[in-house]
């Protein structure tokens, strides 16, 4: 009897601890949201009233808007590049006979293992000489490399889940290599590719360390602009930006989840419609 009761008490304590940690994980980020709609110049919790003043300030500040657009651009390019390049590599790793496979695998996890500060400073050094600092090309390349490990692993997982026998079935049905890939392989690994692209976008869009070093005065990403502003003054505009970024992350994760589920249905529909 007492053992059972002790067990239950222990389980309840464990549950309580787990939910406390959940609160610890979420609260600091979420508490910013109500504070961002306060009217005053310094942040207060709870806010003294409701005002969209800091959001308006963000949208009217040319520097914020420019940084945001630049981040969006770099993020989209990095997501597309990382997904294409990463998918090609994943195919070579799973389906190919790649010379020096061990080394390639090491290079894949390299950008995760090597601290970003090391990479950032090193890129700064080389990008200065190549005149890539502050350029879209520079950011796209840097962020593609940072996102690649996550893309490669996501696509690898999708490829391992894929049943190669289905390709044989398609070939036996008379489809050539290209149409087999197009009608069978691609639709079935597409959910993995979408997740990969989404991960890559978020990684690029949120990336702060490399951006901190390879930005210049004119062209900087949103995180870099935030970094500067935090360093100088903690203005409520930042709270507004942080809130919007958090909302964007939630939206992206939700979107990814819904897309992944929807893709299966869409894949069905396209196979039926196309001639």
């Amino acid at each position: 009897m007492s053992a059972v009761r002790g067990n239950r008490a222990g389980r309840m304590a464990l549950n309580a601890a787990a939910y406390a940690v959940t609160v610890f994980l979420l609260l600091p980020t979420l508490i910013i949201a109500p504070m961002s709609v306060g009217p005053e110049r310094y942040l207060r919790f709870p806010p003294a009233g409701f005002s969209t003043r800091w959001y308006t300030e963000y949208f009217q500040d040319e520097e914020w808007v420019r940084a945001t657009l630049f981040s969006l651009e770099a993020g989209v390019i990095a997501a597309v590049c990382a997904t294409v390049v990463g998918t090609m590599l994943a195919l070579a790793l799973v389906r190919g006979r790649l010379p020096g496979k061990g080394l390639v695998e090491l290079l894949v996890i390299g950008p995760v293992i090597v601290p970003h500060i090391a990479l950032a400073v090193a890129m700064f050094l080389v990008f200065e000489q190549l005149r890539l600092t502050g350029s879209l090309l520079g950011f796209a390349m840097a962020h593609t490399v940072l996102a690649l490990p996550f893309v490669v692993f996501t696509v690898l997982a999708a490829l391992y889940r894929f049943d190669v026998e289905l390709e044989r079935a398609a070939l036996s049905c008379g489809a050539g290599s290209f149409r087999t890939f197009r009608y069978v392989t691609l639709p079935l690994i597409a959910p993995g590719l979408v997740s990969a692209a989404l991960f890559a976008f978020i990684i690029s869009f949120d990336e702060a360390v490399v951006s901190f070093f390879i930005s210049d005065l004119d062209r900087k990403t949103l995180p870099r602009k935030m970094f500067e502003d935090i360093d100088y003054n903690i203005s409520p505009t930042l709270a507004a930006v942080a809130t919007m970024l958090t909302a964007l992350t939630i939206a992206a994760l939700l979107l990814g989840y819904l897309l992944k589920r929807g893709l299966e249905r869409r894949a069905r529909a396209t196979a039926a419609q196309e001639d």
Binding site: L14, T22, T29, A92, I113, H116, A242, T246
Partner: protein, 289 residues
């Protein structure tokens, strides 16, 4: 009639080495230019500028200022790892024993921070901890303190904020290890007369160990080279090695010394990675979302 297999690549046939290389080429090119070349150039600076020398490395260990930064870096990384482990365990355990909505909520609580900007989360801690920040406001209002405490720019603040930022990297590997332990094992252990503590020590902990190692390694490695959070929450007072590197590059323009610091950091990270090679499992962080 040709006596060679036709060139179709699908259906379980392996691509030739040449075709594989072609597929890997964009990756290799990109990584060569944006990863290998920069790091090699930087390390070259540290060893061969002005001439072949180890002086820059020696300087990092000779001057007490720098030695102190490095020791602080390791100390903070250890504290962060331990704190993250203590926080992650109950969450990972309850997650591994939940299903349906409960699991979805807990998973969302872990994944959302993982994918939220580090900068946003660091900023949140600054808002909480600064002199007229939320924590001080609430404590004052509750009458617990008369004047604001100094919370920001302390080592404790750095450890707390970093543990918070890195926590998902601890939770996910432990969760995936715990999920792999069938509930029957704990039942069997208890049927065989093991107490809850004995069950934990003899059954659960050994089976969870690979996940724990993986999580600890991940968090420790990331903590060692962490830049954003220590730079903002710790300030110059709590300088860690990443901030020191940044300072050398941006303020002192001392590339060789910055290169040496990066070399030391990289050496440390590489040794740890090689020692715990099997614990580096990236797939745990991508498969779950």
């Amino acid at each position: 009639m040709s006596q060679r297999p036709p060139r179709f690549l699908l259906g379980g046939r392996r691509y030739s080495p040449a075709a594989s290389l072609l597929l890997a080429a964009p990756f290799l090119l990109l990584v060569a230019v944006v990863f290998v070349l920069p790091l090699a150039t930087l390390l070259h600076e540290s060893l061969f500028v002005p001439g072949p020398t180890m002086a820059h490395y020696a300087r990092a260990f000779d001057e007490p200022v720098y030695l102190r930064v490095m020791l602080r870096t390791v100390r903070i990384a250890v504290f962060v790892t331990v704190l993250a482990l203590l926080l992650a365990w109950p969450l990972a355990w309850v997650m591994s024993r939940s299903r349906g909505l409960g699991l979805a909520l807990l998973a969302a609580a872990v994944l959302l921070p993982l994918w939220t900007s580090v900068l946003v989360r660091t900023y949140a801690w600054m808002v909480l901890l600064q002199r007229n920040g939320v924590v001080n406001q609430l404590l004052e209002r509750a009458g617990l303190i008369d004047e604001p405490m100094r919370l920001l720019y302390t080592e404790g603040a750095v450890v707390l904020a970093m543990a918070h930022v890195l926590l998902p990297f601890m939770v996910l590997p432990i969760y995936s290890a715990l999920k792999g332990i069938p509930e029957d094992y704990t039942r069997a252990a208890q049927m065989l007369g093991a107490s809850a503590w004995a069950t934990f020590r003899e059954v659960i902990w050994p089976l969870a160990l690979p996940g724990v190692t993986s999580g600890c390694l991940m968090v420790f490695l990331l903590a060692l080279g962490f830049f954003v959070t220590p730079a903002l929450v710790g300030g110059p007072q709590q300088m860690m090695i990443a901030t020191l590197v940044s300072q050398q590059v941006r303020e002192m323009l001392d590339w060789p010394f910055a290169g040496a610091l990066v070399g030391i950091l990289l050496g440390f990270v590489l040794v740890l990675t090689l020692v715990f090679k099997r614990a580096v499992r990236l797939d745990r962080f991508v498969g779950s979302a």
